[in-house]
Symmetry: C2
Subunit: 329 residues, 2 copies
């Protein structure tokens, strides 16, 4: 299989995507990694002895993080992100990965690859950590800001299929992010979505509160892009702040430093559980091709995770399965 990597996208580009691709090339010799970007920028990080399954694809331009998404995608046909999208569209790659401008990546999905038939709005999905490590697939996390109930139904169906195809779950439990568990709770959007999900061919378990996500009350969490993004960032922020405060507190005296040193492996395990980088690689579901968003601050290890996600989705035929499910419905 062939995976195109936007070598110019993300805070740590080109180093992080290039080094991540090198690690992936070594780990999965059956996968061809196509680094899309400026050769002059990429070459210094390739080191000596580039593996034979890593190729550079020249792209002379790049999309900046503050570019206006739709305009940038239209006006920069030779930007690395756009070139990678075109490769997926034209069959030159089975998937593309980018850590660049999220809005622009959405625009690449919609303008270059096109919306999947039967889907009104694509959704950005990611696996949120859970205590039992199986994670919760949540969508939409910010692709679509003003969702309609029908969009949430799209997300539920796509998320359910993702869990089945990519994660091998027979009957993923689908929950709706809401402010309470009772059916009548929430805003107009969530009440209408509740009705639609109740009638859908999925295992809908009802409303799920934000505080229960980490306990994996459901396998697929359906939310509108605004609330989903708030949820994701609130959990990330709380975990990060708590670790920072804990670190300051535990290094405040020699006595606490010594005791904390003995607990280092334990802290590392807890930290890993809440590590969003471990779960890096958020597919944009609902477009004609596999587009994976990598976290903007992705390092080489995170890039490798995103490549792993893309590999699993390709191996399990996610996109053809989604197309078959939705096309013509």
């Amino acid at each position: 299989m062939r995976i195109a990597i936007d070598a110019m996208g993300g805070d740590l580009a080109p180093q992080a995507p290039v080094e991540g691709a090198l690690a992936a090339a070594k780990e999965w010799p059956d996968t061809e990694l196509l680094l899309v970007g400026k050769p002059d920028a990429i070459n210094p990080f390739l080191g000596s002895g580039k593996p034979s399954n890593v190729t550079i694809v020249e792209a002379s331009d790049k999309i900046e993080s503050d570019d206006e998404p739709v305009r940038a995608v239209r006006r920069k046909p030779n930007a690395s992100m756009v070139v990678a999208g075109r490769m997926v569209k034209e069959g030159g790659a089975d998937a593309m990965i980018s850590a660049g401008n999220t809005g622009a990546l959405m625009a690449v999905g919609l303008l270059v690859l096109g919306r999947m038939k039967g889907i009104e709005r694509p959704g950005l999905t990611s696996v949120l950590p859970s205590v039992d490590k199986a994670g919760v697939l949540a969508l939409d996390l910010g692709a679509n800001m003003d969702a309609k109930p029908e969009h949430l139904l799209n997300y539920a169906l796509m998320g359910s299929m993702y869990r089945q195809k990519v994660h091998g779950m027979a009957k993923p439990r689908v929950g709706l992010l809401n402010v309470g568990t009772e059916a009548a709770k929430g805003n107009e959007l969530s009440k209408a979505a509740f009705e639609l999900l109740s009638a859908a061919p999925i295992q809908f378990i009802g409303n799920v509160e934000a505080r229960d996500v980490l306990e994996r009350r459901c396998d697929v969490l359906v939310c509108d892009g605004f609330a989903g993004n708030i949820l994701l960032k609130a959990m990330e922020g709380a975990a990060e702040t708590l670790f920072n405060v804990l670190r300051t507190e535990l290094t405040s005296s020699l006595r606490s430093k010594l005791a904390a040193a003995a607990l280092r492996p334990n802290f590392r395990r807890v930290r890993l559980m809440m590590d969003y980088k471990e779960h890096n690689g958020a597919p944009l579901l609902g477009v004609n091709g596999l587009v994976v968003k990598s976290h903007g601050s992705s390092d080489a290890a995170s890039t490798r995770h995103a490549i792993r996600q893309a590999r699993m989705a390709i191996n399990n035929g996610l996109i053809p399965a989604l197309a078959e499910e939705f096309d013509g419905k």
Copy 2:
């Protein structure tokens, strides 16, 4: 001053509100605590020697947690929560506190006390913890599910005044909860609210992301009730889960148990920082009188905190100040 306490509301009622009131009565001899509820249920927890500033006010009925709010308030005029609201309305109390059904408390605010002139929708506010312990006053946290931009403007003005009057801040920084910091980010609601807040007579600092709340990027966080509730519960849930995982991890071996024991005071301090009970007492701003929501699972200590919040609001003339600000505008 006189504070009416719904002795029948909350998961731990009547014990928690009664014991919280007793503690408050001792601490603040200038405050008269009026325990509203069934004397037979309250008396067993009063112990011997009821302080002279604690009085029982009989209310023969109560609102259940699963009662339909508006109907319950209309059909149960003798419920403790409704009686407490009527006392504020008629001048028999300067504030009321309840840990009961949030929707019903909203209904008491709207139907018994009435909406404040110039306010379209009341907002439920609470102080979220922050690393520097000054906290972030956030509203609305769930009173109003489908907010309009004008409601968010109401919240910004009320929250700003609350910070000034009750917390003594000269120029509270007001932020808008959003999915990114740039002005053009967000859904239709947040974009329209951004315009209104930019033109309002407050110190508006722009959009604030969920992950930055704990760092106290702003003093007042304006949000719609749905997203605010998601934020609150996501942060609470992440902190609680993290502490649980840490506890399990640190008691997994004798070695880790011993090291962890030495760090107990440090853990306690971190825990306290994230303790939402410490900040208990969420006023419902925008109704004609001081109505304070106490957390449903409030214990005696949390009840005392809510009473402290109410005392500060009364002493600083919050309600008259809000009325003066909004009336006729």
